[in-house]
Symmetry: D2
Subunit: 255 residues, 4 copies
């Protein structure tokens, strides 16, 4: 458990749609994928960290203003209901990321409105759901998200996500995966947007028990720790500002 996480407030957002519809998914995640993800985080973070869940079927898609204001890091899993997330919620989440909230986007969250808006790209990729074997490799062992993670690890059964993955060049590339069909994927990548940090991690799917995998849980916890700002989320986002000559001195040399 990390002392960095003392007092941290994490919200695990889950679409919670497959779980209502597909017996196969309920068999793997009887309490919902969000609960499994949340449980993994609670095991890795500090006892004083608070990990709650929120789901699409709740009022304001589970992310009303009060909930967002109490969230230091948000994790996001969605798949078949991206379009049902209100644009106002999308805007509020992006605005809070710009103010410094950490965001961890998981698997099919690559196609969420939130992620596509923050990336500025299509976030398209190649895919196949056919029980591929995925091997995840650490390519930046000096990165905080790689702490305690082996050089490589296997996920026996998994959906394939393959390149080209249409994202901006990652600020930091931590993991690359291969699949049974020979495909590769930049599976762990970091981005900065405004005052906020974003980690995308592709392993994880509703049809496979990936979120029960011990190393996957560790990586997600590391991502949450990395994405959190020690100095907290700012009260307002950065704005366009006119500054007269001499403003810096007028501000005592420290704006």
């Amino acid at each position: 458990m990390s002392s960095d996480a003392a007092g941290m407030r994490v919200t695990v957002w889950g679409e919670n749609a497959h779980e209502q519809r597909d017996e196969s998914v309920r068999a793997i995640y009887p309490d919902g994928m969000h609960e499994t993800i949340a449980r993994g985080l609670r095991a890795h973070l500090h006892p004083t960290a608070v990990v709650r869940t929120a789901t699409l079927d709740q009022p304001s898609c589970g992310l009303d203003a009060a909930t967002l204001e109490e969230t230091d890091v948000l994790t996001w899993w969605g798949h078949i209901a991206h379009d049902r997330v209100d644009d106002a919620v999308v805007d509020a989440v992006c605005e809070r990321v710009h103010r410094g909230m950490g965001l961890v986007v998981l698997h099919s969250g690559h196609w969420s409105k939130v992620f596509k808006k923050l990336m500025g790209t299509s976030c398209n990729l190649r895919w196949r759901s056919a029980e591929d074997r995925e091997t995840v490799w650490t390519v930046d062992p000096a990165h905080p998200i790689a702490e305690g993670v082996p050089d490589g690890f296997v996920i026996e059964s998994q959906e394939m996500y393959g390149e080209f993955f249409d994202i901006p060049r990652p600020d930091e590339l931590v993991f690359i995966s291969s699949f049974s069909g020979g495909e590769v994927f930049r599976s762990g990548s970091c981005f900065h947007r405004g005052y906020g940090r974003i980690f995308y991690f592709s392993p994880g799917d509703q049809e496979f028990p990936v979120y029960h995998h011990a190393v996957v849980q560790r990586v997600i916890a590391n991502g949450v720790l990395w994405a959190r700002r020690d100095s907290g989320v700012r009260a307002s986002r950065y704005e366009l500002e006119r500054k007269d000559l001499g403003w810096l001195d007028a501000a005592g040399g420290q704006p």
Copy 2:
């Protein structure tokens, strides 16, 4: 003149609003800023390159489908009329960048709908219009856009753009500027989006004769050359694709 530009088709887009309204701007740019920028490009590119202009007051904001389809690289200058650019035009420009069209965004174009959508950030900054002296420094002399550009050069009178500039971390940072007030700015930066390349260059303003500056013209020409794909703009953008196991072999090993 560069042989790389043979047959290249460039469209210089200008908002052309200050020129209609402000005598001070007409005095510096009697034919419009777009014409000055286009003239600079014609002087640097290959004789067979075609440099045309397009302006906001034309039908489809000057960028109908046919014009876009005939454009290898688009340059963009806007300032007071960003909101008057139709969203459909914004979408078409971004879609064509994703397919491989080069985009060179100039100065106040940092706040255009097109640039903000492609960046995924606010693109806010600090600014002052008070005849600052700007010094532009090359920080990546190995970059193609720095070819033939001095280590540093002075623009005697200029609007100040200062950090924090809220953009994603540039894929490649080529120039950094300082100003009379001590501010700094990442003034030349490169981004990849899909199959397209984007160069942002901040020097240039309607109230100062910056686009008549010989080195500024050279940098913009270098940016246009860098942003152009030799293999042309693709017919369609990259899409989400399901790929069955064995698809790569079925495609003869080269999808």
Copy 3:
């Protein structure tokens, strides 16, 4: 004070040559620059962190094997005696960085054997010692090293370091400075080498009281915190390894 620093072992290495020779330097740093830097770190790090100093005039240049083995993060300041650092010490420091020791290189340390070897470039720059005013700007406010640091801050009297600074493109660029003469400098930049993290910070000089500056002390402390691996320095560096087919499974799926 940061809980991240609990139990951290920092060694502040100082050349300690100007202090023996120049009255002007002793007037500013009566106990040596290394002591001032160490004091600043002690004020910012956790009470259980141990901050010691080491100097060139000590046996093994102050960095014998035992000292290095007990160092999680090393800070480096040198100027007129780079050549007097034994190559064996240089190799040992670089090898430990590759194994995960953090390294914070300060000011004229840009020309140390250690930094040049880790960068693979000349690390040359432009300079002037003429009481310039330096303004340091944060260009990546989401970076851990920028936590609690203002958007910009002034150092009233300082040596000028100007671009082009011949380093590899930084993995992460946190600060950019401007000077009275209009020069700019990438003053805070991050690199990964093997399992180790390196932070270079240029403010600081023997003729100016820069290491007494509160914000400078905060940045250096942030750099030390960022450079430290939670999982510690590894016992051995990464080696070239032959791996037969199936090695990953033989290793239980986690090498």
Copy 4:
């Protein structure tokens, strides 16, 4: 054929040791690997480009001062005789890269003195010579080196190179490979050092006919084109320079 290559002077350096010793290698590369590589380049570059070869067994390791001075881009393949390259030649090659010569490092050249010195890391990796199937994927289709290269392509029989590959974070990552054993490798990556550009491309081995592969030849040609500076190699490298206040104006605003 690219007009960019008009008049370009390329030197293909080959260790030429396996070819003298191993019948198996001669069977694949009867004229030496360097000749195969050179032939591929001649087919892709402009008719006026001059592609010569140089080998370790020649005087000055094939790279005397005159040869280097007439080289715009150097390609490098070595494997079992890295230590036999004179340090003076290594220094001369690195110095010329710093002045702007392009460098394309191939396969086992990752362990050459030249590459390790320019990287500042161990350049270690995992490997296996067991007829793996390698699939190379384009992860930055907007990059010049990816022009005309398919999204992915297969090399049927190849040595495995696997992560962690101990290099600095690449400035630009163009290709990632997977192997039969599930390993991945950053197989095409770009670096800037001083005024020079470096491209590392891992496919290619003495025991497999990889340099006869049409797409591999195209990628190497693209790498050579990308690495060449239009403005040529500079007469001297960048040096540490003292600059008095006002030097920029004294230089007419353009140093």
